[in-house]
Every structure is written in structure tokens, then in C-alpha cells.
């Protein structure tokens, strides 16, 4: 087990490095000159631009720039934002917790809703409740997230004045964004749970359990649920990474702090140090989430534990 984890961590390092290379390439190879994140080409002469590039080391060969960047990272230096001079690391450390907070609460919402509605849907398969749950879950994944968010703001903040529409301080500001983000992925999880629960319910061992005289409730909540968790964990893992992506839009709609918002601004402004830093951290999160998923597998599924 420990061996497997160590092996995973080692491949994760490869993946992390690969992510760095990829982002570096994307940001530098795509058409467009990153210098324009700093200067306005309409007001700056080519000579000034060239001088600035030299000063910032942006005229060095890409390979050299990359090596220097990696060495800096190994020293804990992620550089400074080209636009605002703010140290990237500080910027990320300030914003990341907000995004993680949002993601965690959204995941809790979506997993709770997803698993329980999914199980209910499977138990009552082809009944009205099932149809309603299935259609609802489809609707949630069919709505553009930002639209849902704006509608929520208008309803819950402007009209009803129940909840704040923006900000990221305090728990109340978390409710609308995390619900918006959460219900989308709960739709995905409901469908996943329902399908795998239906599969599990048809497994022979369910017959054994019933033959032992167990109540249907015990069969569902103890045995089916635990077995359903195995495939569901993968989906949850994927949802966590999806939510990081979702935060790009959600944080803009709800004016929240977070890495989703800074990275979308940074991408548009070609603020490469920020983009690289954020991608590096989100890659770390991905890797950690995958690791957690793998370990959870081992906890829930004894078949994996032994392998």
C-alpha cells in the first residue's frame, strides 16, 4: 500500500512537471506576445517594448526561460505578476483557500444530494420519483452555469434579499455560489449513482443478503451504498477538478476571490507568471485529489487494498 502511494507520488511529480511544460508552451507558443500584458501597444513604441522585454528577460530563448523558471520554483519563487508586481505565491495563497472553500462546500452539497437522490432514484426506478429526479438532474447539467448564478442572485439576493450576492467573507457569501456549482455536479453524481446502484442491485450478492432475511433498508443503506461508493469516488474526484474549472465562472458571477477569477483575468492579460503559478497549484490539487481517490478506493474496496 505504502509502496503504491509512493509510486503514485512519483508519477504525480512527472505529471506536475509535464503540466508546467505544457502551460509554458501554451502561453509562449500561441500567437501573441506576452509583453502586451504589461504595455499597451497603442501607447508604447517598439523600442520601449524591446527594452522592457530585455529587462524582464523575455528576450531570452524559451528553453532558458523555462529552466530558470523551474529553478526559481524549486527555490519557492513563483515570480511576480507582470501586471501588478504582486508575488504570485502570495497571490495564490491568498486566493486558493477561497476557491478550496467553495469547492469543498460545493462537493459536500453535490455528493450528499447526488448520492441520496441517486439511491432513491434507483430504489424507485421507473416510478414518478425516479423520472422527476432524472429529469431534474438532467436540467441542472443542461443550464449554463453563469445563467443559473445570475438568476439565483436576482431571486435570492435582489428580490428576496435572503443571501448576499457577492464577496467571499463569511459563510453566507458561500451559499449561493456553492449551491450553483454544487447542483450542477450533483446532477452528474445522481446519474452515476443511479446507474451503478441499479447495477449493484442486480448483483447476485444482493439476493444473498435478502435471503438472509435482511430488511430492504439495510440492504440499500449498508450494502448497496457502500458498493456504489466505489465507482462514485472516481466521479467525485473528477467533479472536484471540474469545480476548479467551474470556479472560473462562478467566482466572476459572484464577485468572489479565488484562483478561478485571477487565472481567467491573467489568461486574457497574458500574465504568464500568474497563469503558470495557478496551473501549477491546480495541478497539485488534481494530483492530491487523485491520490485521495486512490486511497479512498483502498479503504472502501478491499479488492484494491490487496492488489
Amino acid at each position: 500500500m505504502a509502496g503504491v502511494v509512493i509510486k503514485k507520488i512519483l508519477t504525480s511529480l512527472v505529471v506536475l512537471f509535464g503540466a508546467l511544460v505544457l502551460v509554458f508552451l501554451i502561453m509562449n507558443v500561441l500567437p501573441g506576445d506576452p509583453i502586451f500584458s504589461i504595455v499597451d501597444p497603442t501607447t508604447t513604441s517598439p523600442e520601449e517594448i524591446a527594452a522592457l522585454k530585455h529587462e524582464l528577460g523575455m528576450d531570452k530563448p524559451l528553453g532558458q526561460q523555462f529552466v530558470e523558471y523551474v529553478i526559481d520554483i524549486l527555490h519557492g519563487d513563483f515570480g511576480k505578476s507582470r501586471a501588478s508586481s504582486e508575488p504570485v505565491l502570495a497571490l495564490i495563497l491568498k486566493n486558493l483557500p477561497k476557491t478550496i472553500e467553495l469547492t469543498v462546500v460545493s462537493v459536500v452539497i453535490s455528493v450528499t444530494l447526488g448520492i441520496l437522490l441517486g439511491i432513491l432514484s434507483a430504489v424507485f426506478r421507473n416510478r414518478v420519483l425516479d423520472t422527476v429526479v432524472r429529469v431534474l438532474s438532467l436540467i441542472t447539467i443542461s443550464m449554463p452555469t453563469f445563467w443559473t448564478g445570475v438568476l439565483f442572485i436576482l431571486l435570492f439576493s435582489v428580490k428576496l434579499r435572503w443571501l448576499p450576492s457577492m464577496g467571499s467573507e463569511g459563510f453566507r457569501t458561500l451559499i449561493l455560489p456553492s449551491v450553483t456549482l454544487g447542483i450542477v455536479s450533483s446532477g452528474v453524481i445522481v446519474r452515476m449513482v443511479r446507474n451503478s446502484a441499479l447495477e449493484i442491485i442486480n448483483e447476485p450478492f444482493i439476493v444473498t443478503l435478502r435471503a438472509k432475511g435482511l430488511a430492504e433498508r439495510t440492504v440499500m443503506l449498508r450494502h448497496v451504498l457502500r458498493n456504489v461508493m466505489i465507482p462514485t469516488i472516481t466521479v467525485i474526484g473528477l467533479q472536484v477538478t471540474n469545480m476548479l474549472a467551474g470556479s472560473v465562472i462562478i467566482e466572476t458571477v459572484f464577485s468572489r476571490q479565488g484562483i478561478g477569477r485571477i487565472i481567467s483575468t491573467a489568461i486574457m492579460a497574458r500574465d504568464i507568471p500568474i497563469v503558470q503559478g495557478v496551473v501549477f497549484f491546480s495541478a497539485i490539487i488534481c494530483v492530491v485529489v487523485n491520490l485521495v481517490v486512490d486511497v479512498s478506493y483502498a479503504i472502501i474496496d478491499p479488492r484494491v487494498r490487496r492488489a
Partner: protein, 272 residues
């Protein structure tokens, strides 16, 4: 009672099919459906609420929202279909080859996909769309590139599962050539789950496109696609909600219909 419930889900599929067919009609022959020109700006009739003359009301240019939505279906569908085709074909082929060849190729492929997966798709799309000139083409490119990992993963998984079926062993023992096995057995049997995924991808592409539009990477064309329409109309939610509401509903309904049909397709292809 039972009969009613069963026909409910069937009815949903039928309604979805009809709706998709209608949208297709809109995309192919918008002039046939739309009562007005989508570019006609009747400045005397600004921000009119929905009525019989303007089914979805009019927008801030005085255009008939219904007509704009009808005409906008074409670009929306083009975005959806083109990015599914591009992403699906590239991702599908990559995944299929990696799965079929296996070994080092597969390992390298897996690492690459893992790396891609650490960068959320929308960020990839954002970076590409922002760096290229915003156009239908760059939006499609951005969405397809960002969707390659998911297609290739599904395809790879499917191919690997097919590769281990007994009939592949039989074909090998017969002496059928590898390329023939790959095309005639493996691909032929892998494409159906892939088709389901592509169908669902059609819906999600349209959603991603609207997200890009929201983030400021929309395209200003003669006739805006739904995503652009929706993200531009959202400023009017309080004053003239219909500008935003109807495109939103149409996107949701269309993606919903696609998802229902996709589910149905899955049931038909893979009855469990």
C-alpha cells in the same frame, strides 16, 4: 398508473426528438421559421415584452428575440457539432490507438492525458480562444482541444475492453491482420458508447461556448449564437428579462433534449 409512468419517459424522448428536429429546421431554414429578419432593428419597438407580434419580445436593438434565436441556432449548432467532430475524432483516434497498441505508447498517452487533465478544460479553451482572433473557428478549436482528453479516455477504455473480448482472440488465431482487426472489430464495437458521449458532448460544447462568451470571448457576428445572446442579454434581466430568459431557456431545453436523447441512445445501444 404504471402505463402512464412508462409512457412519461417515452414521451420525454419523443418531445426531445421533436424539439431537436425543430432546432435543426431552424438552423437549416431559419427564414422558414422566423417571422422577422434577425438583423432588422426596429428602434421604435425597443425592449417590448413578449406578445403575439413578438413571441419572445424585442431586444435592446429592437430586434425580434424569437427571430434572432431562430437564426442563432445555426452558429450554435455549428459550434456544437464542429467541436464534437474535431475533438471527438482527434480524441477518439488517439485514445483508440493508445488502447489498441498498448505498451509504451499507451503509457506515454496516459501521462499526456493526465497532464492535460490537470489543466481544467475551460482554462485551456480560454487560453486558446484568447490568443487567437475570436471567431467561430477559434471557439470551435478551443472547445475541441479542451475536450480531447475526455473523448480519448472513453475511447481508450472502450478499446481496451473490446481488445480483451474472446472474438478478438479468435480473429488473432484466425490470422486476421492487426489493422483489419482494429478497424473492423475494435472500432466497429467501440463507436457506440463513443456516439453516446459525442451526443452528450454536443450539449456540453454549447454550454462551454456560452461560458466563453460570458468570460468575454464571444464573437460578434451578424447573428449571434445562443451563448453570445445569453451572455449579452444578462445585463437586461431586471429591465427586460426576456432578452436573456428565452435564449437561456432555449439553450437549456436544447441541451436537455440532447441529454435525454443521449441517454435514450445509451439505453438502446447498451441495454442493461
Amino acid at each position: 398508473m404504471k402505463k402512464l409512468k412508462l409512457s412519461l419517459s417515452d414521451a420525454l424522448a419523443v418531445i426531445s426528438g421533436l424539439f431537436i428536429a425543430f432546432i435543426l429546421l431552424c438552423a437549416i431554414a431559419p427564414g422558414f421559421v422566423a417571422p422577422y429578419s434577425p438583423t432588422y432593428m426596429n428602434v421604435a419597438d425597443l425592449l417590448q415584452a413578449p406578445s403575439l407580434t413578438h413571441l419572445f419580445g424585442t431586444d435592446y436593438f429592437g430586434r425580434d428575440v424569437f427571430s434572432v434565436v431562430v437564426y442563432g441556432s445555426r452558429d450554435s449548432l455549428i459550434i456544437g457539432v464542429a467541436s464534437v467532430l474535431t475533438g471527438g475524432i482527434i480524441g477518439g483516434i488517439l485514445g483508440a490507438l493508445a488502447g489498441f497498441i498498448g505498451g509504451v505508447v499507451d503509457t506515454i498517452f496516459n501521462r499526456f492525458i493526465e497532464i492535460l487533465m490537470t489543466i481544467p478544460g475551460i482554462l485551456l479553451a480560454l487560453a486558446i480562444a484568447a490568443a487567437l482572433r475570436p471567431s467561430l473557428f477559434s471557439i470551435v478549436l478551443a472547445i475541441s482541444v479542451s475536450s480531447i482528453p475526455q473523448y480519448s479516455r472513453v475511447m481508450r477504455g472502450q478499446v481496451i475492453s473490446i481488445k480483451n473480448r474472446p472474438y478478438i482472440t479468435v480473429s488473432n488465431s484466425i490470422g486476421t491482420r492487426g489493422a483489419v482487426i482494429f478497424v473492423k472489430h475494435v472500432l466497429l464495437n467501440s463507436w457506440s458508447p463513443f456516439l453516446v458521449m459525442a451526443t452528450l458532448g454536443l450539449g456540453s460544447s454549447i454550454l462551454v461556448a456560452s461560458g466563453l462568451s460570458f468570460l468575454g470571448l464571444g464573437i460578434i457576428k451578424e447573428i449571434p449564437d445562443w451563448g453570445t445572446l445569453l451572455s449579452q442579454g444578462r445585463g437586461y434581466l431586471v429591465v427586460a428579462h426576456w432578452i436573456c430568459t428565452f435564449p437561456g431557456l432555449v439553450i437549456t431545453a436544447f441541451v436537455l433534449a440532447i441529454n435525454i436523447i443521449g441517454d435514450r441512445l445509451r439505453d438502446v445501444i447498451d441495454p442493461k
